[in-house]
């Protein structure tokens, strides 16, 4: 045990900086993927709740296909698969595309749950004063939906941050990749992967705290919102919609 810790003490100052720099890439990947996912996800969600003929089923197929397959498979498809049919991209772009599309599918369901959480009567009232469906969505539904959307979206953000580690499989220069290289140089897998775990914790734990805070805020708003008791169920549905790897909604506990 003493030797183990001694190795840490001797080498931490060599190992930590490169890992931290790689963690920056992790964060960049996550932010880009989430940005893509937020925008694309909204589009897909709106298509899914619409009645448009070809686009609605396309949205449904998109969501089911992505939610039903592993993220790593999607990364391989985008990087290797597309290259195989002539569409070559570098590993950072591939990671963002794959994770972005992945996020979009989950966000679409979260958005949908949020949209559906807004009481039907609201829409009727908006339409009856002459708003178009689009205006209703923009001025009435979405502003109320975000309260239900925010906690599971934040939860999804944490999950994406962790999923950037999968990009190491295509040598994207993020944290796990760098850790793997470092292990190849130093032959100290236990120390280095533990260090990597520590850095992930440093990034994720504050975010998880944020998620809990948001969830509590959403619950408090439930008391004031109309249709109170149903809102709790809608919140739970939104959680389930965004749930990845079967995460129980209890991140917030």
């Amino acid at each position: 045990m003493g030797d183990f810790l001694q190795v840490f003490a001797d080498n931490v100052h060599d190992w930590f900086p490169p890992l931290l720099r790689a963690a920056e890439v992790t964060l960049e990947l996550a932010v880009l993927s989430i940005a893509v996912g937020l925008v694309l996800g909204l589009l897909v969600a709106l298509l899914k709740v619409s009645r448009l003929p070809i686009l609605r089923p396309a949205a449904v197929v998109y969501i089911e296909a992505i939610r039903g397959t592993p993220a790593l498979t999607q990364i391989y498809l985008v990087y290797f698969g597309l290259a195989g049919i002539g569409l070559v991209m570098d590993n950072i772009t591939a990671a963002v595309v794959a994770l972005g599309m992945n996020t979009a599918a989950y966000m679409a369901e979260i958005y949908r749950a949020g949209i559906e959480s807004v009481h039907k009567g609201q829409r009727d009232a908006a339409l009856s004063i002459g708003m178009t469906p689009l205006q209703t969505m923009r001025f009435i539904v979405l502003p109320q939906a975000w309260r239900v959307v925010l906690p599971p979206a934040a939860n999804l953000g944490v999950a994406i941050l962790k999923d950037t580690s999968l990009a190491s499989a295509i040598a994207t220069p993020e944290l796990m990749s760098r850790a793997y290289d470092l292990v190849g140089q130093t032959w100290r897998p236990m120390h280095i992967y533990l260090l990597a775990a520590l850095i992930y914790m440093m990034m994720c734990l504050p975010l998880i705290r944020l998620v809990r805070y948001l969830e509590r805020g959403a619950r408090r708003g439930e008391a004031e919102a109309p249709g109170g008791r149903g809102l709790r169920r809608r919140l739970a549905e939104a959680w389930a919609a965004g749930a990845r790897h079967g995460e129980p909604g209890a991140v917030a506990k």
Binding site: T69, Y76, M176, L205
Partner: protein, 225 residues
């Protein structure tokens, strides 16, 4: 256009050669999923009970573990167990490392699921059980846990579906499951798009029915609300 047709021609032509190979990997995927599910349920139950233990130290240890393991990617946990333990002298076969690596996180999820299930049972139930002379253990066994079990099933099914997909991660430590089989096939045939597409379809074939089942279960239980 001809390229598009050529793509599908190749896929269909070599399907009888690819499919059995991939399906063998899919069997291992299912095996890993089931093994991890069992491990996670057991581990999760232990963690949940530890959290309620009279000894505060055990409870805090369990809580801290659950917090921390969820803040780390599965890949990292897996590498710590596979490569890290090997460094310390414990060389695990990749199947075992896979189950442990996935189960470390799974146990934390299951612990939360079990806890939520027990909490969902109204306090008055336990009091009524005690008031007809049951011991706390009897109350847990005959009144609380049976009711908690109903609440626990949907999130567990949900977890199982996520787990099935997560097994793909263990391809990175050469566990012979579906994605690893796919990677091997790609390196031999240089037909990545066809093979990964097929692989994705197989995952869908496994996960979609499970998802429908889980949905149906949840709806049936929701009606009892």
């Amino acid at each position: 256009m001809s390229g598009f047709l050529e793509f599908w021609r190749i896929l269909l032509a070599r399907l009888p050669e690819f499919l059995p190979y991939l399906l063998r990997g899919a069997v291992v995927t299912v095996e890993i999923t089931v093994a991890t599910l069992l491990f996670a349920c057991l581990f999760g139950l232990v963690l949940a009970l530890l959290k309620r233990a009279r000894v505060p130290l055990l409870g805090s240890l369990a809580s801290v573990y659950i917090e921390l393991v969820r803040a780390v990617p599965v890949l990292t946990t897996l590498f710590i167990i596979y490569f890290g333990l090997a460094y310390l002298g414990i060389q695990l076969p990749s199947f075992v490392a896979a189950v442990l690596g996935l189960g470390m996180l799974g146990g934390a999820y299951m612990a939360e699921i079990v806890r939520a299930g027990i909490d969902s049972v109204h306090r008055g139930q336990r009091e009524a059980a005690l008031s007809i002379g049951m011991t706390p253990a009897q109350a847990m066994r005959f009144v609380v846990l049976p009711q908690a079990a109903r609440v626990v099933v949907p999130p567990t099914a949900n977890y199982a579906i996520g787990l099935l997909k997560d097994t793909a991660i263990v391809s990175t430590v050469a566990a012979p499951e579906l994605l690893f089989a796919a990677k091997t096939l790609v390196s031999q045939t240089i037909l990545p798009m066809q093979i990964y597409l097929l692989t994705a379809l197989i995952y869908l074939a496994l996960s979609l029915p499970l998802a429908h089942l889980a949905n149906a279960m949840e709806l049936r239980l929701r009606r009892g609300d």
